[in-house]
Symmetry: C2
DNA sequence: CTGTTAGCGCGTTCAT
DNA sequence: ATGAACGCGCTAACAG
């Protein structure tokens, strides 16, 4: 690999002049510049960013620590958003998944710090309240899709309550009156907020709250959705719409509805949550659902980090991003 | 951030001694070592890997370039496999997605090279034959889930033919005689091989090949699967099993089968391909399918890279990994 | 067992 | 407009 010095020799200038050319310093005559560029090309020279960063003490590197990266396809959008924001400013991401292993999380943060990342985003695959991994405070950091209990670290999370509200309101605007909710497993951070939004929508629109129409799942999976939907259909009168707190639940609900010979959306409207594409877009009829803003969260997290680097300080903002409605054919 | 020199001062030793302690050099007396470790801890010292790497000329960094990262959930397993293999050896991954943009791919490779990655894995989300991105040959590289037409670069891909063979054979062992195939869109690299495997299985087991039972899709999506399955069901006699060349096609086929009041697997067996979890595991009944070895490919790619670094040379092996059968309830 | 000197490839400071 | 000397934080090579 050619060095700056070899280029300098080839171009018969000092290596400092080469440095100037690389960094677009105007104080180089056109002819010298041309000669240097020529030498760069013939030698296939490539600046050594490691060396440069060591000197400038800026790595243009951001760490991205994910609690895990396997189960859901959400990671991908989070990363994509983060990367787009970083790439635009000439930053690169160093991504580590720690598979829900605290030791690995700590190790990841330490390694990233040793590699002189200028900031760290810590992302979880499920919306959660977390205790920050050790040492993460040694670099500017942002939590994506999760937040610290004490709000000490900047965070960006989905506005679940408003999502729940709008999902329910969409059903109400559709003219539905007996709207059921099949909620997530009670432990999930999002469960409470989505329920709260559901209740607020009913109240706001003067609809009665019927406890029998509200069900929890054990694990938020399709089998659960099937069973709960089946129970709801036994009610008299049965619901004319159902808000499934995630798309997998909706997937199971579809089967239960179809098994009774009912039609979606003519007999019953279904709305989901998460916009898990492979499910939502492919169900028959395609599922109307609330999208989780993963891409936007990743993007915001990195932008906030970059802003902090510009300003020399990071503000511990707690931002919530909307969950937009994705209209398909199920309501 | 404390430096090695500050630690040395605090411990009243030369900075070289600190260096020895950090690198587990045995030539340090126990008492000195203890004193140094003490200083390290009180100062919160963290070695600067940038500086170390500059000196040792080893970055312990691997580049991971993905053609895109958004549409399918496959990226995640590829990355996970790569990361696990890297982490085990103290390497980190620098991941870039270039969104099918050639310019971005070239830029990504250049940036990675400037950052002194010791090797690059280039991965595609769909099994493909590609022309290598420019400059990638400047570092040891491996293609994952794709290969160069001329075999000049090491590659690891799924054994699609054998997967197609085993999928079909599984159906045959189940006692099925009239096995249909709904294949991918004809342009897909995997389409030919999966078809070849299907044909070989029929031939091997002395079953006739009936052209009418072989259908292509336009885009490999559920709607397509629905239509093709519907056509197949019009045949006399209808197939008693169907090999869907991906799980999304199978998803559509399920709907077509159920719409006719037929039962899976009693009336007709369905086997898929890809093991796209959110679909395969959640369909009712759960879909038996062939898994794509994404994790394994990512793992192999990095291991091969690491082997090459150990050996000082990379061999352009063209490895194919098996697609294991995932038994569920649909056959 | 410990310390000294040199230098990795660059950018910064100052001189010319 | 160009160059020389210096140092970023660390390890290698050698000395003691």
């Amino acid at each position: 690999m050619a060095t700056i010095k070899q280029v300098a020799d080839a171009a018969h200038v000092s290596f400092k002049t080469v440095s100037r050319v690389i960094n677009d310093d105007p104080n180089v005559s056109a002819t010298t510049r041309a000669r240097v560029i020529d030498a760069i090309n013939t030698l296939g020279y490539r600046p050594n960013l490691i060396a440069r960063n060591m000197r400038t003490r800026r790595s243009h590197l951001l760490g991205f620590v994910a609690d895990e990266i396997a189960t859901t396809p959400f990671a991908v959008n989070l990363i994509k958003g983060a990367q787009d924001a970083a790439w635009k400013r000439g930053f690169m991401l160093m991504i580590v998944s720690c598979d829900n292993d605290a030791a690995r999380a700590e190790g990841a943060v330490e390694t990233l710090l040793e590699r002189k990342v200028e900031g760290v985003v810590y992302a979880t695959m499920r919306h959660e309240v977390i205790v920050p991994p050790p040492h993460i405070d040694e670099a500017p950091s942002v939590f994506a899709n999760c937040r610290a209990e004490d709000g000490s670290v900047a965070s960006v999370t989905p506005n679940e309550e408003r999502g729940g509200f709008e999902a329910t309101e969409t059903l109400i605007h559709r003219g539905r009156q007996r709207i059921a909710l099949i909620n997530l497993e009670p432990g999930a951070t999002a469960a409470q907020a989505r329920l709260a939004g559901y209740l607020r929508a009913l109240t706001t629109h003067g609809l009665p709250i019927d406890e029998r129409r509200i069900r929890n799942t054990d694990d938020g999976q399709p089998d659960d959705g099937f069973r709960r939907m089946d129970e709801l259909l036994d009610l008299t009168p049965p619901p004319d719409a159902v808000f499934c707190a995630n798309d997998r639940i909706a997937m199971g609900a579809y089967d239960a509805i179809k098994a009774r010979g009912l039609r979606i959306p003519q007999d019953i409207s279904v709305i989901g949550f998460d916009n898990q594409e492979v499910i939502a877009a492919y169900l028959r009829p395609a599922l109307t659902t609330m999208a989780l803003p993963h891409y936007e969260m990743g993007y915001w997290a990195v932008e906030h980090l970059l802003r902090a680097l510009d300003n020399g300080a990071i503000s511990p903002e707690q931002v919530m991003l909307p969950c937009p409605l994705v209209r398909r054919a199920s309501i």
